[in-house]
Subunit: 346 residues, 2 copies
DNA sequence: CTGAAAGCGCTTACAG
DNA sequence: CTGAAAGCGCTTACAG
């Protein structure tokens, strides 16, 4: 009566032997996609418990050519990732959407060149069915390598250059455009723009929104681009703006961090915010709330962006061709003290 | 001259055909573990580029019986996870240690019953070689199921009941013991303990540390256990303590959150902190810093805990039997305003 | 140094 | 309804 089992973990053959059927029948039972007699079913069910059988994921993946897993790869300093609420909400949103379709999200952190290579091989080697790539900097070899893999991919926030990988992003242009309009309507008329690095897509789009809102009133003398997305670069840029146009009564910065740099310089020079100059940012990050005064900014629905990212990979996994596709998610202006009272406040 | 390639992604057979060798030789070349002639090597190398070959992870895993991946499973509200700096530092530490050994850490979030079942199957099915389990609540079926899998596991923070799964934890008893001693030396003599839920291991250990430090001076009348790790439970417990022993001049709470509840009640009753009563917590979480006044607490090196967690799974993957093993990581008292001036401050 | 062959643990037409 | 057989893409003794 001793059913010899193999040494390692039990396989479908062990179950078959105990149940007294062929392993093909066990497989059919497991996959519920073909008829199995009631009698065989109960025998198999019991055998599964008896030998404590769990199907091998790798064997299944090999024959099915799918893993039902999607990687969420972060090309960022891990600390920054966990700190940035926008990024973590994105991850939570994507996880929920994937989970709902019974896909497992696998969060991976690139924290070294070695890990970048390993993750690229993993993804190129079919360890997952798709990949959501979060990378802030362009021309990043690691990001490029992952995107060039045959595995369906989507990038968050930044469309990769020279690549047809679809991307999902917040409405950079629209957010700033709306903000500019609101400031204008609230009585600010000499509105400067403190942009991000001039060649970065996000900076370009945000500048475009500013320009569009102003229309013919747009004045290039009131625009300056910071060299980096850094506090110090924001300060330098603000100094240039003040030197060029001392009469400005509002500054629209391309990020909360740059706006914080602007606040520093304005304080140095004795300009009051918002009484003398209104300041605003983008992102609605912690910087916006911690600033003195708290910053008007553009808030993005990161959870939703995460969900859309998931949808875009999933559709590609289902065979849809989404080359070059871009999805823009609307955002929302959050009006705070740094812009003074809002004229049209209801 | 047209080398017919199969339709899907190229396989080792395609490489072999193009290079004019057998696929076994290609495999040997890839694994560098047997001699391959220089001539064959260059041909293969070129063929790999030509067909753009990347080895299949699933096929490899199936024959090698290993995936070189370790799951980091979080049984927590995802938001809480990303918010809690202790948890994210743990993840970063584990990721770094695993990565250094060329293992890929796969971060997975349990956010529903469905996902709990899916992840359990994944792990039981050999999708990863090991699992680090972060679960705060005991008797959690999902945690138990994962731990009962044949896959090597380790739990963070909490040893699972009735389980021999190894665990790594901060020195609960030692931290509170040291803290109690320091308070005593600083002139506090009627020191109460506001413990966590009476049957939770962490609460039991912390209480033990308090008791040990006090020795014969220990007085059970000065001890109360909160019903939950919640703010409100901390308040209720503090009220009971004050009712039982109004003369207390220090309260050692089992967590920062419980300590915050204690602060609320003391403020209500007009007792000044630290002038009338010293208050301290455990965790060095945001609660500790945001409290008024900031809380003395026990700080844990979460990054290091993460590294140790990785080491414990890795050793098991390497075949070591670590059943029942527990690793206790030392921690450190952080003295802040809620305890007044420290007598032995250097 | 290198092929042919078996096998890792599954799924799935194909005949019965 | 169910077995036998082939195949998913690799690795690895075993002979040469």
């Amino acid at each position: 009566m001793d059913n010899q089992l193999s040494v390692g973990r039990p396989t479908i053959l062990d179950v078959a032997r105990v149940a007294g059927v062929s392993h093909a029948t066990v497989s059919r039972y497991l996959n519920k996609r073909a008829y199995v007699s009631e009698q065989a079913a109960t025998a198999i069910d019991q055998a599964i418990r008896e030998v404590n059988y769990v199907p091998s994921r790798t064997a299944r993946s090999l024959v099915n050519r799918q893993t039902r897993a999607v990687a969420f790869v972060v090309r960022e300093s891990p600390t920054l990732f966990f700190t940035d609420p926008n990024l973590s909400k994105m991850a939570i949103g994507a996880n929920a959407a994937l989970s709902a379709q019974n896909y497992q999200m696998l969060f991976m952190i690139i924290d070294s060149e070695q890990s970048a290579a390993r993750i690229t091989e993993l993804i190129g080697g079919g360890f997952v069915d798709g990949v959501i790539l979060v990378a802030m900097s362009l021309n990043d070899p690691a990001a490029q390598a992952i995107a060039n893999t045959p595995t369906p991919a989507v990038t968050a926030s930044v469309p990769l250059p020279d690549s047809l990988v679809p991307h999902v992003d917040t409405d950079n242009a629209g957010g700033i455009e709306t903000l500019t309009r609101l400031l204008h309507e609230s009585g600010f008329h000499t509105i400067a723009h403190l942009g991000g690095p001039e060649h970065e897509p996000a900076a370009i789009l945000r500048h475009a929104g500013y320009k569009k809102a102003l229309g013919p009133a747009y004045d290039p003398a009131l625009v300056d681009f910071a060299n980096q997305w850094e506090l110090e670069a924001g300060r330098a840029s603000m100094r240039r703006l003040l030197a060029a146009g001392p009469e400005i009564d509002a500054v629209i910065a391309s990020s909360d961090l740059l706006a914080t740099g602007a606040l520093d310089v304005l304080a140095e020079q004795g300009r009051r915010v918002p009484e003398d100059v209104s300041v605003s940012g983008f992102d609605d990050s912690d910087w916006a709330l911690r600033a003195h005064p708290p910053l008007t900014t553009v808030h993005q629905d990161s959870y939703r962006i995460g969900e859309e990212l998931a949808e875009v990979v999933l559709r590609q996994i289902d065979g849809e061709d989404l080359q070059g596709f871009g999805r823009i998610i609307p955002n929302e202006v959050v009006w705070r003290e740094s812009s003074g009272p809002r004229s049209d406040a209801s």
